[in-house]
């Protein structure tokens, strides 16, 4: 008997799953009602009837549409964006998009196209973006030229193209991005470049093509926005080929998995006869020499990420124009080894992810009087006592990032040398403040301070003194030892705060008036603490706040707190063990009436009683009939019943004796 029932149950479960699978194939996800739909990976062989005719954005990748015909998208007349990535499309027939006048983007990546008809792209009034990446193309003539006059981006990467020449019939006057990455282009001729001359401010991507030669003068008096020759074996071929050209950004970097010729100073000579604003040479090896940068004098931005330097040559001259220098992922031992004096006009300097332990040094950057941004994150930066000798003379500095470094000991007025600081990031760098209780004093214009996971002493009430302009403070991951945010906490001096992050701080309770002085607070993040419903007294000081209480220990929310919740803008209560019994009925009622204030309702579930564990709060309907009023009426009802019974018995007895 039991076995029989089990089999029945299993069969019914499996059947249910099967039905579920069938309906799922018809189910696209509605991202925006009547506008945006996602039908990815559903194995569809046609556009589902269920999609409304008003659909504008359709994500239809990884389905099965071997041929595109006039009727395929005929019903969806409002389409603007159509992604047909990997739909096994072989044929795009005549007038396939005839009815889609507003279509501006067609993505056909990864389709084994056999033929695209001449009038395939006719219909859209302004087709702007066309992607034909990895479609097996061997010649640009494969693309029908009719109605491409509005095209702004054309992606032709990962095909078998051997020339960048566009047919003379190609209307390229609006083209801004032309992408030929990972093709088989080995030669570039004058004719090729002339075919692109209709376009102005073009970004041309030739990454991953093994260019062997460029015809002399091919780029003569041309101007490009962006030229990418990433991964080329010998960069001198490009630099010779680009004589007398103008380019905003030239990307000549390489990659870990690609072998290149080591760069010597004569290979860079071509740079002297061209105009480039920003140059990237990541992952190359350089032949050390004092003349290596002799043709870099007109550069404004230089990116030397992972170029294996352990010191830059000290005698570099003429690099007065350089504004931005990126030296990430190199091998410096001391910050002075970057020879900062060679780049007196720098406004932005990045030394992120240094591989060796980096000594902060003494006054290594003092010649950089115009420096605005300095990023030394993740570089194992170490110093004795920070930061006045290290940052000497950087009086204009606005952004300083020292996150993810070795522990730092901050001295008193640690940033006296850079009083203009607006953003200071120390995330995950252990800070010692025993030398001075208020190291941030005199940072009067500081607006953003990130002290997350810095292990700062949260008992020090003077820590944030002097930060009167501070608007954004992250103290996440710093422990409050008693677990209580008291009335007299370290937030007192920063009364202009708008954003405060106190996630993972081990908080169990927030005392009344703990946020009393933060009248401008608009965002408060208290995720991942141990707060309970009774420890939320401090919220009565808040108004119109975005309040994140996710992943705490809140079970019952006292009804006195509900008016306080009502005056906030958004509340997140997900991942709390919320009580869904009658003891929490006031909150549960409030929740349903205030759903517009609740963010992440999908993850806001009951923790108690066990029967409702994991059920979304929106789906819980409780009837707690025996309220006080209910009990009053019930008692009244009983009393009336008893009186009625007594009357009845009295009447019966009277009648009985009447007969006697």
């Amino acid at each position: 008997m039991a076995g029989y029932i089990s089999c029945l149950l299993l069969t019914s479960l499996l059947t249910l799953q099967y039905i579920g699978a069938i309906s799922a194939t018809q189910m696209c996800t509605e991202v925006t009602v009547n506008l945006t739909y996602n039908c990815e990976s559903l194995g569809l062989e046609e556009i589902p009837e269920s999609l409304p005719a008003t659909t504008k954005f359709l994500e239809f990748s990884f389905n099965f549409l071997p041929d595109l015909q006039n009727s395929t998208f005929g019903r969806l007349r409002d389409l603007v964006y159509l992604d047909l990535t990997r739909c096994e499309i072989n044929w795009v027939h005549e007038d396939a998009f005839e009815n889609n006048e507003d279509l501006s983007t067609i993505i056909l990546t990864g389709n084994p196209l056999i033929f695209v008809a001449d009038t395939a792209f006719e219909g859209p009034r302004a087709l702007k973006h066309l992607t034909l990446t990895q479609t097996g193309m061997t010649s640009v003539t494969f693309i029908p030229m009719q109605n491409l006059g509005n095209l702004e981006t054309l992606h032709l990467g990962s095909n078998h193209l051997s020339s960048i020449q566009l047919p003379s019939t190609f209307p390229a006057h609006n083209l801004k991005v032309l992408d030929f990455e990972w093709n088989a282009i080995h030669h570039i001729t004058k004719k090729d470049i002339i075919s692109l001359s209709q376009a102005s401010n073009l970004s041309l991507n030739l990454k991953g093509n093994n260019i062997l030669d460029i015809e002399n003068g091919a780029f003569h008096s041309t101007a490009f926005q962006n030229l990418n020759f990433g991964g080329i074996f010998d960069i001198s071929i490009v630099l010779k080929g680009l004589q007398n050209s103008t380019t905003q950004t030239l990307w000549l970097g390489s990659f870990q998995d690609i072998k290149n010729l080591q760069i010597s100073s004569d290979m860079l000579e071509g740079l002297c006869n061209m105009s480039v604003e920003a140059l990237n040479l990541q992952s190359h090896h350089f032949l050390m020499s004092n003349t290596i940068f002799q043709c870099f004098t007109r550069l404004q931005e230089l990116d030397l990420t992972q170029t294996h330097w352990n010191s830059l040559p000290s005698g570099i001259e003429g690099m007065n124009q350089l504004k931005k220098l990126v030296l990430n992922q190199n091998l410096f031992d001391n910050l002075c080894q970057i020879s900062a004096a060679s780049f007196p006009s720098l406004t932005h300097l990045y030394v992120k992810g240094n591989i060796h332990k980096l000594d902060f040094g003494t006054g290594c950057l003092e010649k950089l009087k115009n420096l605005l941004h300095l990023d030394l994150s993740n570089s194992k930066v170490a110093s004795d006592i920070c930061c006045n000798v290290q940052l000497r003379n950087l009086s204009h500095l606005q952004h300083l990032n020292l996150s993810y470094n070795e522990p730092q000991t901050l001295q008193s007025e640690a940033f006296r040398e850079c009083p203009q600081l607006e953003l200071l990031d120390f995330a995950s760098t252990h800070l010692h403040t025993h030398a001075s209780p208020s190291p941030f004093q005199n940072l009067h214009v500081l607006q953003v301070l990130n002290l997350s996971n810095c292990l700062v002493d949260t008992r020090n009430p003077q820590l944030l003194e002097g930060l009167q302009s501070l608007r954004h403070l992250d103290l996440g991951g710093n422990l409050f030892h008693s677990g209580i945010l008291t009335k007299d906490n370290l937030l007192h001096p920063v009364d202009n705060l708008q954003v405060l992050i106190l996630s993972s701080c081990g908080l169990t309770a927030l005392e009344h008036q703990a946020f009393g002085n933060l009248g401008k607070l608009r965002y408060l993040d208290l995720q991942h603490n141990n707060l309970t419903g009774s420890g939320l007294d401090a919220f009565s000081d808040l108004k119109e706040t975005y309040l994140n209480l996710a992943a705490n220990n809140i079970r019952i929310i006292p009804s006195s707190l509900l008016p306080v919740f009502s005056q906030q803008r958004i509340i997140i209560l997900s991942h709390n063990p919320l009580d869904c019994s009658c003891s929490n009925i006031h909150f549960l009622n409030w929740y349903k009436e205030n759903l517009h204030k609740i963010s992440d309702p999908e993850e806001t579930t009951c923790g108690d009683p066990p029967a409702l564990n994991g059920v979304k709060l929106t789906n819980v309907t409780l009837s707690c009939a025996f309220s006080t009023v209910g009990i009053f009426f019930l008692v009244l009802f009983f009393l009336m019943g008893i009186i009625f019974l007594i009357l009845l018995i009295r009447r019966y007895i009277i009648r009985k004796y009447e007969n006697i």
């Binding site: 039991a2 299993l10 990546t109 990895q134 870990q256 998995d257 990541q282 990126v326 992922q329 992810g353």
Partner: protein, 157 residues
């Protein structure tokens, strides 16, 4: 009744993991070392092989890897969890592609592209003690969408 129900309920509940669609492949095999993998991405399988299955594992080993991208990989991160006897002994995360530092040539490839990578990975040389190890490996992009997920079993004899 209860005794009969338990395995059925367990079967139904565990079905997604117990009947993973993808077969277990051999990445490399030698007398001393064997490397098996299975895709844990419900959408697709992938191909992976290691050139030499030496123990100790040599420095900068050559691998071959083939997959179809379900998402763009302007940014790509690798999460590795190593287990021995069901206990986690090592876990780390490593950036493969970042916007300001595309380390490998395949960085920046788009959704729908087929990727084939044959080349070195920068690993240190290390010996593998006798026993069976499990590695949970996941590649994801900046939006935390899974690019590949793999359950790897390493058997050292």
């Amino acid at each position: 009744m209860k005794i009969f129900m338990t395995p059925f309920v367990a079967l139904v509940l565990l079905c997604p993991s117990c009947s993973s669609k993808w077969t277990t492949h051999t990445a490399c095999k030698d007398d001393k070392l064997e490397l098996l993998y299975q895709s844990c991405d419900p959408l697709q399988d992938f191909g992976f092989s290691v050139d030499h299955c030496n123990n100790p594992l040599s420095e900068n080993i050559n691998i071959r890897f083939g997959i179809i991208l379900r998402y763009d990989i302007n940014e790509l991160f690798l999460d590795i969890n190593l287990f021995s006897m069901q206990k986690s002994i090592l876990s780390f995360s490593y950036p493969v592609c970042e916007v300001d530092f595309p380390k490998f040539s395949f960085c920046g490839r788009r959704k729908g592209e087929k990727i084939y990578y044959a080349g070195k990975i920068d690993n240190p040389s290390f010996p593998i003690g006798k026993g069976e190890y499990h590695i949970l490996l996941r590649l994801h992009n900046e939006n935390n969408f899974t690019i590949t997920c793999a359950n790897i079993t390493v058997i050292s004899y």
